[in-house]
Amino acid sequence: MNLISGIDITASALAAQKTRLDIVAQNIANAQTTRTASGGPYQRQVVSFETELIRSQGSAGGALQSVRVAQVSTDRSPGQQVYNPQHPDATADGLVTMPNVNLSQEMVDLITASRTYEANLSVAKNARMMATRTLEIGK
């Protein structure tokens, strides 16, 4: 039994956007990381989403689709080369390969994730308000 309709979908969307926010945080935090466990500089991570059937709705007929994180893939584009001979990860030419993280792009991703989260939160708030208002019929 689910008293507040559609709240499962909103919950999964919130979880997906939260994962996206986590990945953006990881990208920004590692914007200067030149050494990773797999060797080489940090590579930017990208989140993609996919739909997920949650349950068949008796009244609506069709099945409802929620969202989940499909995969966290790696952005393979080359990073910027910076001349810095004092750096421990510099090559013989004195060049250091920096991560391919673009801070302004990450900030745009951050704002998008945050605004999508907010939109889903207002869906949850409205669904709850509808249920509460329905209970006020008897008053």
Partner: protein
């Protein structure tokens, strides 16, 4: 059957604290008069209320468990915990609404001219 007799299972089912308040009642001999509905086997409406209380209780303990997991750091699904709390709150309001309707109809019957 007195309508209040069907409320008794409501209190003996879900809330342990109320169970204690309810406990001394059967010892009083005068209170067994209209007891066609025994508290152990509620019929019809009593059983429905019983199920309602059990559902609300399950939702509240689910919300409690999720909140506890978030607070202990086992889970970072903060929204799940808050949503579970809201669901528990709405189902509790529904239960209170059903109870209000029951009391209202009982009072309506008591006001009836004979």
């Amino acid at each position: 059957m007195s309508p209040i007799g069907s409320i008794n299972p409501l209190f003996s089912a879900g809330a342990p604290a109320l169970n204690k308040i309810d406990a001394p009642l059967p010892k009083l001999p005068g209170l067994h008069l209209g007891g066609t509905a025994a508290p152990t086997t509620p019929d019809g409406f009593g059983r429905m209320l019983d199920g309602l209380v059990a559902t609300v209780d399950a939702k509240q303990s689910e919300a409690k468990g999720l909140t506890q997991r978030v607070l202990l750091g086992d889970s970072d699904q903060l929204h799940q915990s808050v949503i579970a709390m809201q669901e528990a709150s709405v189902s509790f309001s529904l239960m209170v609404e059903v109870r209000n309707k029951l009391i209202e109809s009982y009072q309506e019957l008591m006001r009836m001219q004979v």
